[in-house]
């Protein structure tokens, strides 16, 4: 690589391609049972991708694979050009939640700050005494403003609404300037208007910060206008493409193995009709019960 003389490029580990996530022939198993197999995915850097599919189809499993918490049983995966787990420090992760009850006596801003340096040992010096403390405080402030939580961040997190909590949790995942965000069902507990608002926020961050975002969701409609791509898991397989390519009768029929229709309402909402209850779902319930 020839770097221009005026602006020497630091020898950082550059991924081979502009791919943020790639999976080739990937199979993931949990408890010996295959969740999905033969999955090929390619997500470009800076894209906003939704992970969709019925319960138990392996949406969160994909997140665990990308975090390096669950090794693939077949195939290979790279995350930010490296094996899963190696890029952990560059990933902001928001687990499936997890909301804070009213008894949680910690402020939203403290939670964001923990996302910045909570893993470090030792006691933080007061901001008045240390430059790093002041820098950390500025970064926390900046991130809180970015997610539009400036008015509620200084109150106990338990006293905030679901939407406010979710904004602060996204700030917590963002505060270390990650190159990728893995958000596992961040919209789950929100009402429709808040789902749209948070999705708009995530898209704005995606563009302004150049972050790749993978968002696991139940319902595609509130976030449809903001998405670049969609990954859809069903029937032990997964497909990837633009929302219109994937959420489409023939594609979903192929995934589910039964005829599925996709209807479009006059306001642009997509309704998937005819999906069967996945048999794998019942199996997993039983396994958990015993």
């Amino acid at each position: 690589m020839q770097a221009p003389l005026v602006e020497p490029v630091e020898p950082i580990e550059q991924p081979a391609a502009e791919e943020a996530i790639s999976l080739h022939g990937a199979t993931a198993r949990r408890g010996g049972r295959p969740i999905w197999s033969g999955v090929d995915l390619s997500v470009g850097q800076g894209e906003f991708v939704a992970v969709l599919g019925p319960n138990g189809s392996g949406k969160s499993t994909l997140v665990y694979v990308l975090l390096g918490l669950l090794p693939l049983s077949e195939g290979r995966a790279t995350v930010l050009g490296r094996p899963p787990g190696a890029a952990k420090s560059q990933i902001g992760y928001l687990p499936q939640r997890r909301s804070f009850d009213s008894g949680t006596r910690i402020r939203g801003a403290d939670l964001v700050r923990l996302g910045l340096d909570g893993t470090r040992w030792g006691f933080p010096l007061p901001a008045a005494l240390s430059a790093t403390g002041r820098a950390a405080r500025r970064r926390v402030q900046e991130t809180i403003e970015l997610v539009g939580a400036g008015s509620c961040a200084w109150r106990p997190i338990g006293a905030l609404s679901g939407g406010e909590q979710q904004r602060l949790l996204i700030a917590q995942a963002l505060v270390r300037r990650p190159r990728m965000l893995l958000l596992d069902e961040p919209l789950d507990s929100l009402d429709l208007s808040n789902q749209g608002a948070v999705a708009a926020l995530v898209q704005r961050i995606c563009e302004s910060e150049g972050v790749t975002v993978l968002l696991v969701a139940h319902d595609v409609n509130p976030i449809l206008p903001y998405l670049d791509r969609v990954i859809y898991f069903a029937g032990g397989r997964g497909v990837e493409g633009t929302p219109r390519q994937v959420i489409d009768g023939p594609t979903l029929s192929g995934l589910y193995g039964v005829p599925v229709e996709v209807l479009e309402t006059s306001d642009g909402r997509l309704v998937v009709v005819g999906t069967p209850e996945p048999p794998a779902h019942h199996h997993s319930r039983h396994e958990h019960d015993h």
Binding site: R105, D110, G115, T119
Partner: protein, 299 residues
């Protein structure tokens, strides 16, 4: 100490009263030990309340009782019994509460079972020792005024070590306590920290139990921390307030007990309970005031 008149010897003159309070070495040692214990209980208790491990703390204090009774029976130093039992208890509790999937209810049931067995064991030791009620009473309700200079020394080292460890692990522990899943994903060794904290809690309980007895540990370990968390959700000021309240309660309790016929344990628990009550009522009143203002204001 006089039992005929209340607050005998109190002149209501601060300087001479302070001189009277520190006239005897046993009182000075009680104040020193109380100070060390209050700082430990205030900080570690703050984390315990935040982590919602109050029940684990209670069980450790119950386990401290058979430890002390067993040590008395075997002719070993009392401190060894307290610290040994609480250390073993912390390890047992960490095994019991390790599997998060089993759910909170089964965890608390298992902890309760361990606690009840501990109490029974302690009762057995006391009756084997000869059923001397005075020793039973001091094991359960403390021996504030029987602290030796050597005990103060030991307490000081234990307190400093506990605070140093807490200062080292404090930040990741806070992270794991309020936001376990994210902390684990970020690489915080949450399980190891949980064990370390239970051991620290064991230290704090043992140190406090030596002074306040097994049953009154909570006056210093829970109440100041719970009060502080009612007042502020900020970690730094919350910790400071928790320590300040524990110190105030200890010093006032010791001071009042010196001039009154009633035991230290009673005063310390009553003061901390009163403080908690006053703060709660004040906060409720403040919240009412806050809520009624926008209603009363013209739209």
């Amino acid at each position: 100490m006089s039992t005929t008149t209340e607050l005998a010897g109190l002149s209501w003159h601060p300087v001479s009263d302070f001189e009277a309070l520190t006239e005897f070495p046993f009182m000075v040692q009680a104040l020193q030990a109380g100070t060390i214990v209050a700082v430990m209980a205030g900080t570690i208790g703050w984390f315990m309340v935040l982590r919602r491990q109050v029940f684990a703390g209670h069980t450790l204090s119950v386990i401290a009782f058979p430890g002390a009774a067993g040590a008395t029976l075997a002719g070993l130093p009392l401190a060894l019994g307290y610290f040994g039992a609480c250390g073993v208890g912390a390890l047992v509790l960490s095994r019991v509460s390790r599997s998060e999937e089993s759910g909170l209810s089964s965890e608390s049931a298992a902890i309760g079972t361990v606690g009840a067995f501990g109490l029974g064991l302690g009762f057995l030791f006391v009756s084997l020792y000869g059923g001397q009620l005075t020793s039973l009473e001091s094991l359960l309700f403390g021996t504030f005024l029987g602290i030796t200079a050597a005990q103060v020394q030991t307490l000081l080292w234990i307190g400093l070590a506990a605070l140093a460890i807490l200062a080292l692990i404090g930040r990741p522990l806070l992270f794991a306590s309020v936001d376990g899943a994210v902390a684990r994903a970020a690489g915080v060794p949450a399980e190891a920290l949980a064990l370390a904290f239970l051991l620290l809690l064991g230290l704090a309980v043992a140190a406090t139990a030596e002074i306040t007895g097994a049953l009154l540990v909570f006056a210093l370990l829970v109440t100041p921390a719970a009060t502080a968390q009612q007042v502020t959700a900020r970690p730094g000021p919350g910790l400071a307030l928790s320590v300040a309240l524990a110190l105030a309660v200890t010093w006032l309790g010791l001071g009042i007990a010196y001039f009154s016929p009633y035991p230290v344990g009673f005063w310390v628990t009553s003061l901390s309970f009163g403080l908690y009550l006053v703060v709660r009522l004040l906060l409720i009143a403040l919240a009412r005031l806050h809520h009624s203002q926008p209603l009363g204001a013209p739209a």
